[in-house]
């Protein structure tokens, strides 16, 4: 068991160093969410009176949406390096060692959680400066919830990389699912703005529950059913996808 934690730590450090060696990604990872706040949020100000934005400030609705988007993006990038590592034989070499396949997957997952949390904190700080109301208790739980989302996306992307083995196929699948998933979750604009059929469709999207719970938590409502359901759905999806990713590592063939 200790070996498992040591290995997870080793793989986590390896992935983190790998990211820190590419400052471009860090810079865009930090600037993209800030650009959303600066360039997209002003468009929403005119919607302030709509029923979908209760309580006045649009950023209270919009900031949690951006956080979900960052969490999604931080996780979904995991599959690309997996394919490079398949092509260069790194994964094959690691699979011949006694290292735990779960640890191998979790190294990347944990790195991605960090890659969500750091820009996420920046968004909170910048958003607060623009008038977003911070509810500390809800915020901690919000980050925990979205860490689960990042983990699920990261495990999914790794598993897809291992299964598809080609950058082109992976890109097609990831971008092909990203748009419907994010649109049907009401990330940028609440689904309550839309017609009934859209709202019904959203209920089949696990991401929708994360977004609903995220809005509730960001508003400081910690003990609602929405929050409970959000955690339940995200925990289940994270567990399933981590199992899938681990199995993919067990069977990976270059």
């Amino acid at each position: 068991m200790t070996a498992f934690f040591v290995q997870t730590g080793l793989f986590f450090r390896r992935k983190l160093v790998e990211t820190l060696r590419q400052p471009v990604w860090i810079i865009t990872g930090l600037t993209t969410p800030v650009l959303y706040l600066a360039l997209f949020a002003p468009l929403l100000r005119s919607l302030g009176g709509e029923p979908a934005f209760p309580g006045g400030h649009v950023l209270d609705v919009f900031v949690p949406g951006i956080l979900v988007l960052i969490a999604f993006g931080a996780g979904m990038g995991a599959g690309w390096p997996v394919i490079w590592e398949l092509d260069s034989g790194v994964i094959e070499r690691l699979r011949v060692t006694p290292a735990s396949r779960l640890a191998l997957l979790l190294g990347t997952v944990l790195r991605d959680v960090v890659m969500f949390a750091v820009p996420g904190a920046v968004v909170i700080a910048v958003g607060a400066a623009f008038g977003y109301h911070v509810h500390w208790g809800g915020l901690v739980l919000l980050f925990a919830l979205l860490a689960l989302l990042t983990a699920a996306c990261s495990a999914t992307s790794s598993a897809l990389g291992l299964k598809l083995k080609q950058i082109g196929s992976l890109a097609a699948v990831v971008t092909g699912t990203q748009l419907p998933l994010t649109l049907l979750a009401g990330i940028l604009l609440p689904l309550s703005l839309g017609p009934t059929w859209l709202r019904v469709l959203g209920h089949f999207n696990p991401l929708y529950y994360a977004v609903q719970a995220a809005r509730s938590l960001a508003a400081g409502t910690v003990t609602s059913g929405t929050v409970g359901l959000g955690f339940l759905v995200m925990a289940a999806v994270a567990a399933l996808t981590v199992c899938w990713g681990t199995r993919a590592y067990q069977r990976a063939m270059a």
């Binding site: 160093v17 790998e18 092509d87 070499r93 011949v96």
Partner: protein
């Protein structure tokens, strides 16, 4: 269980098929082999013969469809974890992390086998020295030359002092100097008690480096033994002596020699001017050559030229498959390869070319 006498690798009835578009292809069709502890064992064959698939099954990367495989006493199917602790693997792709430094690669590998950070650091320094990587380990692997990278990859494969080291086409793409260097490293490992199993499609690598060789084709072992033993078993040395004497005189010499037990066959050809050529195949080239010189000298016939062509492992392959290993490359290997029929005249022709 004594590990010194137990086989390092024991394989029986190994089979593996792959699904491809339009059916299945059997990559390994019933391989049996035993690798002794402490030897360098080679799997020789053309591309697509099933060497890599066999190696991947033995290294727990791929499950076999049928058959049993034990490596260092552990069952590949039932105890893959034990096998992984006991073996090292250097794949065709290498597998070094190119953006990381050599040291980071070595440290991670060492620590994954359970070494402490201190122990891993010491082992890393030791390997850097043995593989002449001291000046490089702090640099990203991306900046290494092909030979340097291969040295690092072999170091990665033995970081935990494995009992059996598997290498898949280890010298492909290396220049002669790096190739010789790697052979030397593998011989040193053998001296240290490590069993080495490698695949190759180079005849000279199998011949000069390996203690024993399994020649593989279409997923089967078609010949197995020491290289010299295999060559003797399947074909003999060819001796060609050109002498200055009329043909009838040379015929008489040939009759003198015909009864020698170490001479298998003998032919006399007319030469261009006043001379001819005696061509013979022998099981013992040294004695046969001496006998020919003696026979010529006793009649006062001057010798103009003499040569010996030793058989190569290609002759063995040719005898068994009807094709030359040199020609059985990736683009021509397969069931539709031209088959000149068993026992063709290939051996003689190959010896001629070599002479």
């Amino acid at each position: 269980m004594s590990s010194s006498t137990a086989p390092a690798v024991l394989v029986t009835g190994l089979r593996k098929s792959f699904r491809v578009a339009g059916g299945t292809v059997e990559a390994v069709s019933g391989i049996d082999l035993t690798v002794r502890a402490g030897e360098i064992f080679g799997l020789l064959g053309p591309n697509g013969a099933g060497k890599t698939t066999t190696l991947r099954i033995l290294t727990t990367l791929l499950p076999a469809d049928a058959g049993d495989a034990c490596v260092a006493g552990a069952d590949v199917r039932r105890a893959p974890g034990s096998v992984r602790r006991l073996i090292g693997y250097v794949g065709q792709l290498g597998g070094a992390d190119k953006d990381a430094t050599g040291r980071e690669n070595l440290m991670l590998a060492a620590r994954l086998y359970g070494m402490s950070a201190d122990a891993a650091g010491r082992r890393c320094a030791e390997l850097a020295e043995v593989f002449d990587l001291d000046a490089l380990v702090g640099r990203p692997v991306r900046t290494y030359s092909g030979g340097q990278r291969r040295r690092l990859e072999v170091a990665l494969g033995i970081v935990h002092r494995p009992r059996v080291l598997f290498l898949d086409e280890p010298t492909t793409g290396l220049d002669p100097q790096n190739r010789a260097n790697l052979w030397e490293q593998l011989r040193l490992l053998r001296e240290g008690g490590t069993t080495v199993v490698l695949t190759t499609h180079y005849l000279d690598e199998a011949d000069q480096l390996c203690d024993r060789v399994a020649i593989v084709d279409h997923g089967r072992v078609i010949a197995l033994g020491r290289p010299d033993e295999l060559k003797q078993r399947y074909s003999a040395d060819t001796i060609t002596v050109t002498a200055e004497a009329p043909l009838p005189v040379l015929d008489a010499v040939a009759r003198d020699l015909a009864d020698a037990p170490f001479i298998a066959s003998l032919v006399v050809d007319a030469g261009l001017r006043d001379g001819g050529t005696i061509r013979l195949t022998a099981t013992d080239a040294t004695r046969a050559m001496a006998a020919v010189f003696d026979a010529l000298a006793s009649r006062g016939i001057p010798t103009r030229a003499a040569s010996v062509a030793r058989p190569s492992l290609d002759d063995v392959f040719l005898r068994e498959t009807g094709r030359s290993l040199r020609d059985a490359g990736p683009d021509r290997a397969g069931p539709d390869v031209a088959d000149p029929g068993p026992g063709g005249t290939g051996t003689g022709a190959a010896a001629e070319v070599a002479a």
